[in-house]
Symmetry: C3
Subunit: 374 residues, 3 copies
């Protein structure tokens, strides 16, 4: 039998993959280590355990809107501080698993509360991000015990949605204008699916529309609604994993296509709303949770389409409270497809997640070993 180590090639390095050399070095310098795993937490929104991914995301947020960047940064810092204070699992903290909900809480509240740079709104970002760490620990225990899977970004979604629902009737008018409760109604064939930035803007050309939908979609996962933001996030993903970056692009295209195919509002599609859940779900299934093969690639694309449908459903479901779908579609989409492990022999589930490239290398090493042993 080959030694365990031989079967487990790891991406080693300072920048690429999970940047383990960097992690080993900074773990001895506490304040630096804190910064490092805060950044990893930002990257973990997309399962990228890499501080440079997180750095690119934060740059995208700060450059799009400093108040957004501030909110996200505050969120990830607070949620990690709470996790340290509560003495939650140190390894999980260092891998960024207590930061990804926090950064999303900060970004979401900076987006949906008003006005900007407000002391009370800042307090609420601190409170909700802190709460999201408690919720993450509890949900992780609930999910692990019952199903043996992680709760994805559910802690963020529940924390922010519950806070915003409370806020409809409290918060002294600090809910921004993008929140508008409305009784659902059956929209007839008049919904305009022509891609455009605002309801009143001119219709975009096909290429221009798609470029906007795709890159804004990649940015929208972090509430960054710009092409530049999307490009920065995509580069961030690619630093950790080129495979993941590729499936991010494929996923956002599929989500956008489902939106167009269903006949959704062209304004929502143009602004990336049909894409951001789908790309995160696509890269999760094609490479992260299942070893990449042409079959798992197809499964990832199916998951991207399924998640886009869930986006339409959840956005519509939340209509009476005027709230957005956040990343709930991603949570339920990925959860559904992750639960397929063990139900079909066609896919190889990854128990010990690092990067898609690493999973592939390990699977190939095991296959070689099996062949040479045979």
């Amino acid at each position: 039998m080959a030694p365990e180590a031989g079967a487990q090639p790891r991406v080693r390095g300072w920048v690429d993959g999970t940047a383990p050399a960097l992690q080993e070095r900074v773990l001895h310098a506490p304040p630096l280590a804190f910064v490092e795993y805060c950044l990893r937490g930002v990257g973990q929104v997309m399962f990228m355990n890499n501080p440079f991914t997180g750095l690119f995301v934060l740059v995208a947020a700060w450059s799009f809107d400093p108040w957004l960047g501030f909110g996200g940064t505050l969120g990830v810092v607070v949620s990690n501080l709470v996790a340290l204070l509560m003495r939650f699992d140190r390894g999980a903290i260092e891998a960024g698993l207590f930061g990804f909900n926090g950064v999303l809480c900060g970004l979401a509240l900076a987006t949906f509360l008003a006005p900007k740079w407000d002391g009370v709104a800042t307090t609420w970002i601190v409170v909700v991000s802190a709460g999201s760490s408690i919720a993450m620990a509890a949900l992780a225990a609930l999910f692990a015990k019952a199903w043996g899977v992680p709760p994805f970004t559910l802690a963020f979604n529940l924390s922010v949605l519950l806070f915003m629902i409370t806020g409809l009737h409290t918060l002294r008018g600090r809910i921004g204008e993008s929140i508008s409760p409305l009784l659902p109604a059956v929209d007839g064939p008049q919904v305009s699916t022509a891609l455009r930035e605002h309801a009143t803007a001119a219709v975009a050309s096909s290429l221009d529309g798609w470029i906007n939908a795709v890159f804004r979609g990649i940015g929208q996962l972090f509430f960054v609604n710009s092409i530049l933001g999307g490009v920065l996030v995509l580069i961030g993903i690619a630093i950790c994993s080129r495979i993941a970056a590729g499936f991010a692009l494929i996923g956002v295209v599929i989500g956008t296509a489902v939106g167009i195919g269903l006949g959704a509002s062209g304004v929502a599609i143009y602004n990336g709303l049909w894409g951001f859940n789908s790309y995160d779900a696509c890269l999760a299934i094609a490479g992260v949770f299942y070893v990449l093969t042409w079959r798992s690639a197809l499964l990832g694309m199916a998951c991207a389409a399924y998640t886009a449908l869930l986006f339409g459903a959840i956005a519509s479901f939340l209509g009476p409270w005027g709230l957005p779908a956040m990343t709930l579609p991603f949570c339920f989409g990925v959860l559904t497809f992750v639960m397929l492990r063990g139900t079909s022999p066609l896919f190889t589930y990854v128990e010990d997640i690092t990067t898609p490239e690493d999973h592939l290398a390990r699977a190939r090493a095991q296959a070689r070993e099996g062949a040479s042993a045979g």
Copy 2:
């Protein structure tokens, strides 16, 4: 000790019970086998693992409305094809466990989308039925791991409800007129509980009203709103199990009585809406999941009443989106009563489900054995 086989009498035959002789024969003829387990899938909506039950149901659907029959048939075919493609558990597929969600998806979308015989609607039946097989595999794994119970028709309910909620704001006007979102309001004592077909129709005589409520109720599980349809479905059930057919009748009467007792709209009651969840729940508890005794018969009736209350609640809950309760009441009602296994010594839970008659015969054989051993 008696041999295992001695304790396990099985209904053997070509038509009756689970028709095992037929299954053994057709399994060697692939295309025929596919048709056979598609039909079993249709019967499995009511836990009847029998192709003739399914055949009678499809005849009821086609004769009520060919577009409805087409939708259901397409749904069961697609969901089984996807299950085969995904290489889900073969035994489960052959027992019809990947068909019952699909047939319901097809029937539901044929009912709620407009217009009939539309290419786009047909595409959506294919997409949603295919998705329901993925959802079934995932939910079955979720439920088995956490609770050791099946997810019943939850995959159908979630797939169709999420698609229809999406459709409120997309689908280019293809949502039919029966979907009408409405803010709940407290209805005063003026609700008319007089049984009648439409709001504007004449009130039915008591006997006529009950006959309609009962048989339309039996048909409504498959969106077949006619007395003839109900009779066909009931005959289909009886081919597999006379016990189940009896409790179907008892269950639909109880559901109807609860509707009348609560003071629900007489139009809904007349059209069988208060009955269809209750009868499926009643036969599930009295005979299928618990060995039939007078106690489990009473439990089944209690479950029928409980499920009728859940129908009222879920239908009202879904009001703001204008969506029907589908078979969610049945899912939650049966789940509640199935979880009672192990909490009370009064009921014998069936681990290996075939037919109520067979469960009874096996329990009696075991009792005899125990007596002779003692």
Copy 3:
């Protein structure tokens, strides 16, 4: 090693703690035993396994409104009778675990149905309380199997909420005026947070407002909206556990403060609506589920604040159906914090619940033992 008994000091007595001497005596007198565990059931709403706690609560309810007291008494009796009939676990019944949902069902329906002393409303109290025992057994099995935790008052919440949602469109006008469905809207800064009894009443002085918010809050867990009621309930808690009574006061203050801090309606705060979930959650975490330390005291206070946020969220979520949050916030708040067991070394989870005082004594005995063994 010390004998097991040495490590398990128990509060023994006729009145204090769990009053085990009383229980031992009355268990031999069946009709008296039934009364005794009905009263324990009332106390178990706040984890107080003590018949005198329950007695004080019922006195509070009867003295506030005899119809309310009647409803609660009927509810606890019916739910225990059903549990006996179904032969659910005898030890659980005797500890009051099949009564606490029933008493809440009775109190809630007496509050929300109209008119008072109505035969039909009485019937519905019987039906829903009976159903809550079935739901409790099923939910307890579901929660135990998946997560190893109790379902708290979820059976009450689901039973009453589902019944009331059904009732919006049925019940022939017997839904009281406090139920008013309303589409959520974003309330601006004009919400008045000044504490007062009715929208039209004069603003209370700060001290008077707080005294009302605190004691009405303690009473509101049992739908008793009066200072006297709150005092009676608090005395009832203190009979069983002074620690729990202390954290009840702390919890209700925190819940009230969160309501004021968020800018919620002062009328709701004055009437104790922001406090009743929080105090039950606070005492559950600080002492009942975790051994009392200064850390678990802080955790209990955090849980009280978290639960107050959940109250705001769930009350707002249920707006379209006009229904109140009941004790759902308490269920989810406590569930979240109970799931933290095992995720942090800072807290000692209690496996065998009696009273906070007893948990403390046992933990100290174990610590002494460990020290002397070392």
